[in-house]
Amino acid sequence: MREQSMVPEPEFESYYGRQILKTPTWKTPDVPLYLFLGGLAGASAVLAEGAALSGRPQLERVARLAAAGGATAGTVALVHDLGRPERFLNMLRVFKPTSPLSVGSFILAPFASFAGAAAASQVTGVLPRLGRLAGVGAAAFGPPLATYTAALVANTAIPAWHEAHRELPFVFAGSGAQAAGGLAMMLVPLDQAAPARRMALVGAALELVASERITKKGLVAEPYRIGRPGRLMRFARNASVVASGATALAGGRSRVLSAVAGATYLASSVTTRFGVFEAGLASAKDPKYVVVPQKERLARKETGGAAAHTEGQPAG
């Protein structure tokens, strides 16, 4: 079952085998759950606005509640992760484009407000026009909410995350689309759920392609292939494939099958986030992922002379 690395164990020196980087202090399940909830909420907001425009009230209702619920639960998870939760508002003290967590706070805050207002208006029937306007706002902030979390993990010194910075945004976009589509497939009648099915199908394809590109990256991507994160990533991939097969074949005909496929998409999306998160932890804990690629880079610099930095080179 376990995939073996295709390259022999590299030889390298270290300080008594100790890790060089600090293991990320972000808590499990808070942070991987937040990555999932942000994707679910962000993509659901887009689904909700499409449903409103195309006259699918039941899809709209489910998606609006998913957007608001995901944003609320995600915010709770994010605040709970802080070492000093009572100081969470310090996140809005400055705006720094170099800090995806800062930028993300300025995405999450308006998104949660818009999505909450849209859902409240939907449920209570109060101020419907303002509710729709808030829904448009949520749909605008939704895709950034679903994808900025990729910048959050990529803009670190953790090799498995940083070296995947081109692909992770697409993994997270696809994973969010699957989550939003999957939840709606579970809860919305077949005749209104067609857009949810299409969103999940395309999301699955997007994530599969982007994940595949990451796992092919050699040593830095090894944590995505072996151990527990490797198993999580493979489970997520297989779940996506199975759910997509079922959706394509009979998603529009069987209510039960649609619900089961939707739940499978959700499971895949959650698992991907835990897999990516834990791959990062694994890559921080082994000095090999720091030393070997950096030594290779130094060797390339020496042979390549002054052919210094190109964007394709790994950071660390």
Binding site: G83, N90, A173
Partner: protein, 309 residues
């Protein structure tokens, strides 16, 4: 200057304080040059740092791996003395650096070096006092979402404990694995290069306590010249393994405010061989996030196109 200008995120930067917004008449950039060739592993720096900065204990664990029970830099360890015992073929020939001998007096009647040229049983000690590098391009500072981490007028990088909310982003963004959260406290801590002492014109506690001047404190430009001379001197003595680490202003973090003279590969001391500030790629990161977000929006729109079913 734009925050996204190539210069301020990556590459050589000769006036880091001005780049951070200080007026031209700011004090010179201060730093450490840690010459590990004269470190005797006394740990006076660790103790002085703890005492002056009132840093709490971080456990009394016996590692069993070496004389080093401090293990690593962390939230409550701002100086860490590494002890490397290297024996056999891996040990480069030792050269007398004026360090104390481990042999009995008179063990070498012919006045040989304390050394190990005979080969078998050859042992060499490497000791090095590690510290926060106070990078020119500091990953921790770049990613801090609250502004708790800031660049001082001396060019050093310091956490404001009254602002930090313990998000932990700095921990993952440090390419050296220096800064960490203090578990029972929740906030991030690291070396301040004794910001309080610097403001009084004093030497940081570790450098003040160092008995061999392995830890040298001063203006960074002057330290770099001093380090270059020391390196040349060692090379002339045949110590080819000596090299400077973090000295180069063109390296992946734009040079370190605290840099080192090492006698082996950096990774032997637990240092990354070629660290790069993660934010170097922030432009590429945001570009890909932007395209992915637009793709997700497009997927949403496309999902509503087609047969109504």
């Amino acid at each position: 200057m734009s925050i996204f200008s190539e210069r301020s995120l990556w590459g050589r930067l000769d006036d880091v304080q001005h780049d951070a917004g200080y007026d031209e008449d700011h004090p010179p950039r201060m730093g450490f040059f840690t010459d590990t060739s004269v470190c005797i592993g006394c740990k006076a720096c660790e103790v002085a740092c703890k005492e002056w900065n009132d840093v709490p204990d971080d456990g009394y664990l016996l590692t069993g791996m070496s004389y080093d029970n401090t293990q690593a830099l962390g939230a409550s360890t701002w100086r860490h003395v590494a002890f490397v015992e290297k024996s056999g073929a891996g040990a480069a020939p030792a050269v007398d650096l004026g360090m104390p001998s481990f042999d009995l007096p008179g063990a070498h009647p012919h006045g040989e070096d304390q050394a190990t040229e005979s080969g078998d049983g050859a042992l060499r000690w490497l000791m090095s006092s590690d510290v926060c590098k106070h990078c020119t391009h500091a990953g921790c500072l770049d990613v801090c979402p609250t502004g708790a981490l800031f660049r001082t007028e001396f060019g050093t990088v310091v956490v404001q404990p009254d602002v930090c909310n313990g998000c932990g982003y700095c921990v993952s963004a440090c390419p050296y694995g220096v800064i960490d959260l203090r578990k029972d406290d929740g906030r991030a801590f690291k070396c301040t290069l004794c910001y309080d002492r610097l403001k009084e014109g004093q030497t940081p506690a570790c450098a003040q306590a160092c008995p061999t001047e392995s830890i040298q404190f001063g203006e960074l430009s002057e330290l770099r010249e001093r380090a270059d001379r020391r390196l040349e001197e060692l090379h002339e003595k045949g110590v080819d393994v000596a090299r400077l680490y973090g000295r180069d202003p063109e390296d992946g973090v734009g040079g370190d405010g605290a840099f080192f003279l090492l006698l082996d590969e950096p990774e032997v001391y637990g240092l990354p061989p070629d660290p790069v500030v993660p934010t170097r790629d922030i432009g590429s990161v945001w570009k890909h996030v932007g395209i992915a977000a637009a793709t997700l929006f497009g997927v949403g729109v496309a999902s509503f196109v087609g047969r109504r079913k």
